[in-house]
């Protein structure tokens, strides 16, 4: 089994209690019959794909959304059951489900544990109820605490908490309050994802922003929030292993790292993206099309050229603070990183945005973003695209 190729599975559950004001993910509230039909279709898709993955070993599973915890827990059990039946699931696989406070009970969480799920990602966003309300979240901070305690009681020993900065009306102190409350949880979370709010087109926030009704923190304040995240979490023993992700040693999210390392993955459900056998594609975003033909809705297939792969290797890999491995690049592409990107690397080293890192354990050489480079990572990554 060890010589099988690594594969990650992603399940998209597009349902939620209510759409948040900032959310542009493919999700919406739906009644029980639709949820059932959807889960059945997803099980069918899962079985149908087993054949093409005979040579693969599944190292991680991520059940995301939407809010996967809104569907009946029996569906999650069936899903996990089907994964085990149809795929070679590694015994140490990381298996995550996203939940929102107020949508799970201790009983439900225990069912998840029994189904083999070993990691929980809880969408908190803010510890201040007035901010949660503005975001259109369906829960309070109190409910989050209940969920967190229930998760620990149910036996989850690997928990991520999502927090968000640069919220409308949020001050630096407000944001610090959220971070400090999260760090004061007992036991402390293993993982924290910290994002800045991005106003996306097609969301209610976009509309109110356009009308000038959204009082967003100014640039300097947003910037301070960003810095404070790194400072406070660092002091608490967290490692920033990726631009927006912090974890205690040993708890980096393997599933997410897989995306940055270009591990193969299959996405199930509507709109879910895949990287498989050197192609990127995704399922149709149309629910009706998916329900009709769960196996037939793949679209937007791009076969990756060597250039595409080099670009991805760089702009994805650089998201990780560990950086990209020179040796791996050369082995993968038959050309050294310097041969392909020498000028760009040199320029960004000179401007202090990239640096060469020597891994303390292996002694291997990596190219990585500096602290300053992380702050302007888009600017750096865009340079690695070919003309």
């Amino acid at each position: 089994m060890a010589d099988k190729k690594e594969l990650e599975l992603y399940f998209h559950i597009p349902f939620c209690v209510r759409k948040c004001a900032y959310c542009d993910f493919l999700s919406a509230p739906a009644g029980k019959p639709v949820q059932e039909a959807y889960m059945k279709a997803m099980l069918a898709e899962l079985s149908g794909r087993a054949d093409e993955c005979r040579d693969h070993r599944v190292s991680s599973v991520f059940i995301g959304g939407g809010t996967p915890s809104v569907v009946e827990e029996t569906w999650i059990c069936q899903l996990m059951q089907r994964v085990k039946e149809s795929f070679a699931l590694a015994s140490d696989a990381e298996i995550t489900i996203e939940v929102n406070p107020g949508t799970v009970t201790e009983k439900k969480l225990k069912v998840y544990r029994q189904a083999g799920i070993n990691r929980l990602s809880i969408g908190l966003q803010s510890a201040r109820d007035e901010e949660l309300k503005k975001l259109g979240r369906v829960h309070t901070y109190e409910q989050f605490l209940e969920t967190y305690c229930a998760a620990r009681a149910a036996g989850f020993a690997n928990i991520n908490v999502d927090v968000m900065s640069a919220l409308p009306g949020q001050s630096l102190l407000n944001y610090e309050e959220t971070l400090k409350k999260v760090l004061a949880l007992s036991p402390i979370p293993e993982h924290i994802s910290a994002y800045s709010l991005i106003i996306e087109e097609g969301t209610p926030f976009f509309e109110s922003y356009g009308r000038g009704e959204l009082q967003l923190p100014d640039e300097d304040c947003e910037r301070r929030m960003y810095e404070r995240t790194a400072e406070l979490l660092g002091e608490a023993g967290f490692v920033r292993y990726e631009i927006s992700n912090y974890a205690r040693p040993g708890f980096f999210c393997r599933h997410n790292c897989g995306y940055w390392k270009r591990t193969e993955y299959l996405g199930f459900g509507i709109g879910a993206a895949s990287l498989f056998q050197n192609s990127r594609f995704s399922n149709s975003r149309e629910l009706s099309a998916y329900l009709k033909e769960p196996l037939g809705s793949r679209e937007d297939r791009t076969v990756l050229s060597p250039q595409d792969r080099m670009e991805e290797f760089m702009f994805l890999g650089l998201r990780m603070t560990a950086g990209v491995n020179y040796r791996e690049f050369a082995e993968t592409f038959g050309q050294t990183m310097e041969e392909v990107y020498g000028g760009i690397i040199q320029k960004n080293r000179e401007t202090g945005l990239l640096y060469d890192r020597k891994d303390p354990e292996t002694g291997e050489r990596f190219l990585a973003l500096t602290g300053r480079g992380v702050n302007v990572s888009n600017y750096v990554m865009a340079q690695f695209l070919f003309d």
């Binding site: 991005i198 990287l275 401007t351 990572s377």
Partner: protein
């Protein structure tokens, strides 16, 4: 058609202020003279180019010949010569007028006389044309025809009591206009057997037929085979075809004789040889003297035009070449800018002409252009006695070599209702105007007379005039000549490097204000870099204004879209694509549109 009775020809034009209904009346005349069916009528037949229709003005003079049967059954040939309506094309207007024997003056029944009405009517009277007025738009609720009639008589001093009251738009009163054309406009004179003397009032380049000359024959006769000579340019060719103007088409005929209006084709390759205002004569039997009034058209406004994509330089050159075939008043020569690469310094009649050429280059030739700030021709008197005509600010000699400089000045007439006199006078003062006087046209309207430096009106004077008078002021000007002036070169430094394409000549007193505005504007246009970028305005090495583009400190795509890498890559691609539309100056990337945005520094609204 061999012997056309001169007494049955009427050559005329229509003069009016913009929007008073000149083109609409022309359409009605063409329609009701029955040469075309209504179905063939496009909305405005005289306006041939798409661009003209969109802008609602007529750019190039054109002509049309129609046949009119009077109420008592007599047949007359009407040659209606259209004139451009904008001050940029004043010389072309004057040549078109010279080709006519009379003019219809159209005045809006609600608006009355405007600055251009006066300018055009005086121009027509200067050419000894018989002018009769027509009151248009009488069906508007705000129409006051009687008041306008009195105004015409008071201000212009021509008989207006029997002016036809019409609505060109709705076809009211057109019959009366047609009858008055016959009665009030004199028949042409001239001897068909005398030596040929024909006035060129326009020309057109056709890729199959070469240049088509639009002319009015004053004396003599021209036909196929005549060897003609252009008296000003000296070029000589054999005529291959003559004819007259149907609506939108050329209709060949045997000959054009004294009094007739028509076209001549003679295998000429370039409109430069057929200058508007020149006299065509018979090379074998030349007339003694050319017709009066010819002058070489001078470009008044210059700017640099550069392809946004440097590789398109040859395309831009080809496009300019083609446009020039048809537009003798456009001139250009290659130049190089440190900031913008290879391009051309182009000369135009005025800012409208510039804008039209720019739009045609972009639309018809699909070119993406970067244009530098337009300027006028300055005369630089050097200490060594040389006089230099400066069209590109970058070529200004060192101040130590300059004795003094001169700039062109215009005589401007602005007509405005009395409530806006104050704000318009303020505008003229700001633009270094010298007040010459004011005349009240009637109780509520005045004609302001100013001397204004041309470089103060080529930018956004017209826009400012309109916005400060809520659209009521109208404006006309004539070039007066050159005057000594305290001019300086204003330089813009971005990250301490001078950007040649942004330099311009300005009066010393306005330098600070202009410099400050340009810095502010550029600050908004230049994206953040990894470092702070000072934007400075300088005169003679001395910094007079400064703004700063703050350093970019955060540019992160925090959210990870699950495994949707494609979307992420698209965002990065967009970022990279944006950079391609930048010009690199030192280590600063400046968007193309920053060069354009400083053209319009409109102040008060």
């Amino acid at each position: 058609m061999a012997s056309v009775d001169q007494s049955r020809i009427r050559n005329f034009c229509i003069v009016a202020h913009i929007d008073h209904g000149k083109s609409t009346l022309a359409d009605r005349i063409i329609e009701q003279t029955g040469l075309l069916t209504s179905r063939e009528m496009q909305d405005q037949i005289l306006d041939n180019m798409d661009l003209e229709r969109e802008r609602g003005i007529t750019i190039k003079a054109q002509a049309v010949r129609t046949v009119y049967r009077t109420k008592d059954g007599q047949e007359y040939i009407f040659n209606l010569i259209d004139t451009p309506g904008h001050v940029d094309f004043n010389y072309e207007v004057s040549r078109s007028l010279a080709a006519c024997d009379g003019a219809i003056l159209v005045v809006d029944a609600a608006q009355g006389i405007e600055a251009q009405t006066l300018a055009n009517v005086y121009l027509a009277l200067d050419h000894d044309l018989d002018v009769f007025p027509v009151i248009n738009k009488i069906d508007l609720p705000s129409a006051e025809p009687q008041r306008v009639i009195e105004e015409i008589e008071d201000v212009i001093g021509i008989e207006a009591q029997d002016a036809p009251l019409i609505s060109a738009k709705n076809g009211i009163g057109i019959d009366e206009v047609l009858e008055q054309i016959v009665k009030k406009i004199p028949a042409p004179k001239g001897d068909p057997d005398g030596p040929l003397q024909a006035l060129i009032f326009d020309s057109l380049y056709d890729s199959y037929k070469g240049v088509i000359i639009f002319c009015r024959v004053m004396e003599g006769t021209v036909k196929k085979g005549t060897r003609i000579r252009f008296m000003a340019t000296g070029a000589s060719q054999e005529v291959v075809e003559v004819g007259y103007f149907g609506a939108g088409q050329f209709i060949p005929c045997e000959e054009l004789s004294a009094g007739m209006v028509g076209y001549i084709m003679a295998s000429i390759k370039n409109v430069k040889e057929t200058a508007v205002g020149d006299t065509v004569t018979d090379a074998d039997n030349p007339c003694a003297e050319p017709l009066p009034g010819y002058k070489k058209v001078q470009s008044m406004v210059y700017c640099g035009m550069y392809p946004a994509d440097g590789a398109k330089y040859p395309d831009l050159r080809d496009a300019l070449e083609k446009l020039q075939l048809n537009d003798a008043s456009l001139n250009y020569e290659p130049e190089t800018s440190v900031a913008l690469g290879f391009g051309f310094r182009c000369g135009f009649l005025g800012l409208l002409h510039l804008e039209i050429i720019q739009e045609r280059l972009e639309r018809e030739y699909n070119l993406d252009l970067v244009t530098t700030a337009p300027g006028v021709i300055y005369k630089v008197y050097k200490t060594n006695g040389e006089v230099m005509e400066l069209t590109n600010p970058s070529n200004l000699p060192d101040p130590s070599e300059i004795e003094y400089m001169e700039e062109p000045v215009v005589n401007a007439e602005i007509m405005v209702t009395s409530e806006f006199i104050g704000s318009i006078m303020e505008l003229c003062q700001e633009r270094r105007g010298r007040y010459l006087g004011m005349e009240y046209i009637e109780g509520t309207r005045a004609l302001l007379k100013y001397e204004l430096p041309l470089n103060e009106i080529i930018y956004d004077f017209f826009d400012a005039l309109k916005s400060r008078s809520r659209g009521y002021a109208s404006f006309d000007y004539d070039i007066k000549g050159y005057e000594r002036s305290n001019l300086v070169k204003l330089d813009i430094l971005i990250n301490r490097e001078e950007v040649d394409a942004l330099s311009f000549i300005v009066h010393a007193d306005s330098a600070y204000e202009r410099g400050r505005k340009m810095c502010e504007k550029l600050k908004d246009e230049i994206p953040r870099h990894l470092f702070e970028i000072p934007i400075q305005a300088a005169v003679g090495g001395k910094i007079i204004a400064r703004e700063t583009v703050k350093a970019m400190r955060k540019d992160v795509l925090a959210k990870c879209y699950g495994g949707d890498i494609t979307r992420k890559k698209k965002l990065l691609e967009k970022q990279k694509e944006g950079k391609k539309r930048m010009r690199q100056i030192g280590n600063v990337e400046i968007p193309q549109k920053a060069f354009m945005s400083v053209l319009k520094l409109d102040d008060k609204k």
